[in-house]
Symmetry: C2
């Protein structure tokens, strides 16, 4: 087998996570302009003046030392988020969560010896020589059907009709499938002799009392629910969904259906971030637009801290409106707003506020930057609170269909569309045209293209790291 | 690039669906017993007497012509399931569903010319010659912050301080980032002259009124919710989640926490199938164990038909209890129970019952068979009702770690664990030991191994089709 790294499908690296996902994505249509993978000459820089702002050319071309790395900001958040205590839930409500106990079976599964299918319970030695040409005839001494019943038994040379799942009479050690017989009622002609134990399920074949059934850390899906129910558990201890409150800050914000005055903008982020938080597994609560009144604002923040495991605030980190928010946050314990070496961004905030030191993450108010920041900082935090081992989305390496530029020292996240290439591997194109990936473009994207801090240029045909944005992962 | 079919990762075929998924799965540990892919001699048949029952060796070794194929049963179901009418939901409730309208924007996005970042709005020609060594000084005539405001303007040779997202004063055609200036208040020294349009977002750059925003058939995730909110939509027409009622039939069944009399079995399936239906995207309702009283049973079935888009019944299709269910079903329009050439199975039922001809799918009562049947018949039906284009799970080709046997004429589904092979591609092992995959084994599996009707044997090291069972897909 050729190594998968050759075709770019197993070489993805992002924060040291090398596992990759090949994902539900359409095949790329054949391109009119020649093979995607073919290197082409450099094209005009398309994003030079919409990306992060480089300092003027005076020798300081790298990111300022005051700017912190994406990793540092993320590590601060991940180190500070709490792990909510496990809670007991009804098994159906536990769906999608991680088991927080080692469930030990109190029961044997199956609970009794039973027929695996419809047929006749017999002793194997009585029918060992049976063939179609020379069937063995046995008297039928009754029938065992599914359901509660007194244990029955058969003696040598006798057969009992049994239904799938019905108790096996003691004395029998094999079930002859009905299709290997003449289906007789008083007597049955058996046309084949299966070995001892055939088509029989023995008590405890599956689980014996004391066996571990579902382990700590197992994701609970339909099969685990099936097993939990079978071993007698209607409730199970799980890692709960973290409660995430989503708030928007900004005097420019209005509700979706409000008429817009000049300069006003719809509060998009409380909806989008609540959806993203829910998609990441949180129990998300959209509070909406923070009030403009200072006292009322502090009250809202305090009440949300009391009811949440994580508070998420989006807003523009400049101007009088955010100053007021920051003041309110400062009164609750302090929030550090950092310049993080990423685009979009870079203004990102984090603090632990209130009596319980609830983590509060602030992301930029610009909607594309808000959802990118969610991917980079908030989704891993939610997954950590859920107890997931895999905090980060899988990445793949894809061939860039375009020449891409990225400023030195900044990690750039571009929305793109990634597709399978008909010849194998993946091809990715940034969405839209030359300018910022705005909302309509973001909605057409199925991935983020991640360009590392030390990369300033990706040639058309070169490999880039791509993070497919699958829903519900 | 080598073709992916060479490494087995793109050759999956199942019902003509060739797209594959490489999925979230652990790397296989190094094997002590030598390479997995190395062919080994035939081993003792491990499943000969627990799989489907072949007829005795009298020349009729294939499935009986009375047995229908998996495809035929599936096609009957898919042809009969209705497509529920679209409904209007609040955007956050629409998450995860498919858009059922072409949403056209009534608004321009952005709604006004604005600064893309904090800085100074100027005329590009006024600062064209600015450098760090020879900055251009301009008087600052005010500040534009985010929020509702009267439109402002600047004349030639002037600058206005602007915040990201704030209205651009008319007369300005560029924003000079604050980091390229001395941050002056009354006068500003500009150290670089960006081209016209830099760091400016123009009205309608993203969306102009009349532009399509979200198309029919688009899955609604955070990015689509963001766009819908931005274009002024707080509600959207979507394909609804089909309402699926889940019932169990069988006199042997008792509730999870009941003490078990001999012959009694916990009702596992109403839980597991409700979880599976929800995982597939349905609005699942667990009714539970059907009553034993004939009249009450008919009443339950009728009421569930009235409130459901699909009814799912699990039960053993033999014995007096199911006869009663079948009689009740027959009174509502008729149910065909077929022998389907699959293992586990084969007894599968389908009908359209009640005044509204609601589809009713019956699956076997044995819990492993019930969940396999769900995968094969019910999940695609639910996805069809949701409007999804991709009805079936992606499959991959994997190297079988063991010698596998399968009866001619039957499609066999074995639970297994599939892992990435360190050298690329996938390796799959059936779960557990020689006998049927029972509940505890199923709960350890992460895939179904699918062995086609015309294959009777897969050598260790040979390729098999594997259907990873990811949750939430």
């Amino acid at each position: 087998m050729p190594g998968q790294s050759e075709d770019g499908s197993n070489g993805g690296e992002f924060r040291g996570h090398r596992d990759t996902a090949q994902v539900d994505m359409p095949m790329a249509p054949p391109r009119r302009t020649g093979p995607v993978g073919a290197p082409s000459g450099p094209v005009a820089p398309q994003r030079a003046l919409t990306g992060p702002v480089p300092l003027p050319a005076d020798g300081r071309s790298d990111a300022s030392p005051l700017v912190r790395t994406v990793e540092r900001h993320l590590d601060e958040i991940l180190a500070a988020v709490p792990q909510p205590d496990p809670i007991e839930l009804a098994v159906l409500d536990a769906q999608g969560l991680l088991c927080a106990e080692d469930v030990v079976s109190q029961r044997a599964l199956p609970a009794f010896d039973q027929a695996a299918l419809d047929g006749y319970a017999v002793r194997a030695e009585d029918v060992a020589d049976a063939t179609v040409a020379r069937p063995v005839e046995l008297p039928v001494v009754g029938e065992s059907v599914a359901g509660a019943s007194e244990p029955s038994s058969i003696g040598p040379g006798l057969a009992m009709r049994v239904a799938a799942g019905a108790m096996l009479p003691s004395g029998a050690d094999v079930v002859v499938p009905a299709v290997w017989t003449d289906n007789g009622a008083a007597r049955v002609a058996v046309q084949a002799g299966p070995p001892v134990g055939s088509y029989v399920r023995r008590t405890g074949d599956d689980v014996t009392p004391g066996d571990p059934a579902v382990h700590v850390g197992t994701p609970i899906g339909p099969a685990q629910i099936s097993l939990l129910a079978a071993v007698g558990r209607d409730r199970v201890l799980v890692r709960p969904r973290p409660r995430v409150a989503v708030l928007s800050a900004g005097t420019e914000l209005v509700e979706i259906t409000s008429p817009l005055a000049p300069g006003q903008v719809v509060d998009v982020n409380s909806y989008a971030l609540a959806a993203a938080a829910r998609d990441a597994g949180a129990d998300a609560y959209r509070w909406g637009i923070l009030p403009g009144d200072q006292r009322r604002l502090a009250e809202v923040l305090e009440s949300q801290l009391l009811r949440s495991d994580l508070v998420l605030v989006s807003g523009t980190f400049t101007g009088p409106a955010f100053d007021m928010v920051q003041e309110a946050l400062a009164g609750l314990g302090g929030m550090r707003v950092s310049q993080v070496a990423m685009h979009p961004g870079p203004a990102q905030g984090f603090g632990r506020l209130g009596r319980d030191e609830v983590p509060v993450i602030c992301v930029p108010g610009e909607p594309v930057a808000a959802l990118v920041s969610f991917e980079v900082f908030v989704r891993p935090a939610i997954r950590l609170m859920l107890g997931k081992r895999q905090l980060f989305r899988r990445t793949v390496q894809a061939i860039s269909g375009q020449h891409l530029l990225s400023p030195l020292g900044y990690r750039q996240y571009l929305h793109g569309t990634v597709m399978r290439h008909p010849d194998g591997g993946y091809v990715v194109e940034p969405v839209g045209e030359a300018t910022d990936a705005l909302l309509a473009r973001m909605a057409r994207a199925n991935c983020l293209i991640v360009i590392d801090e030390d990369v300033t240029e990706v040639a058309a045909g070169g490999l880039v790291t791509v993070m497919p944005l699958l829903l519900g992962g």
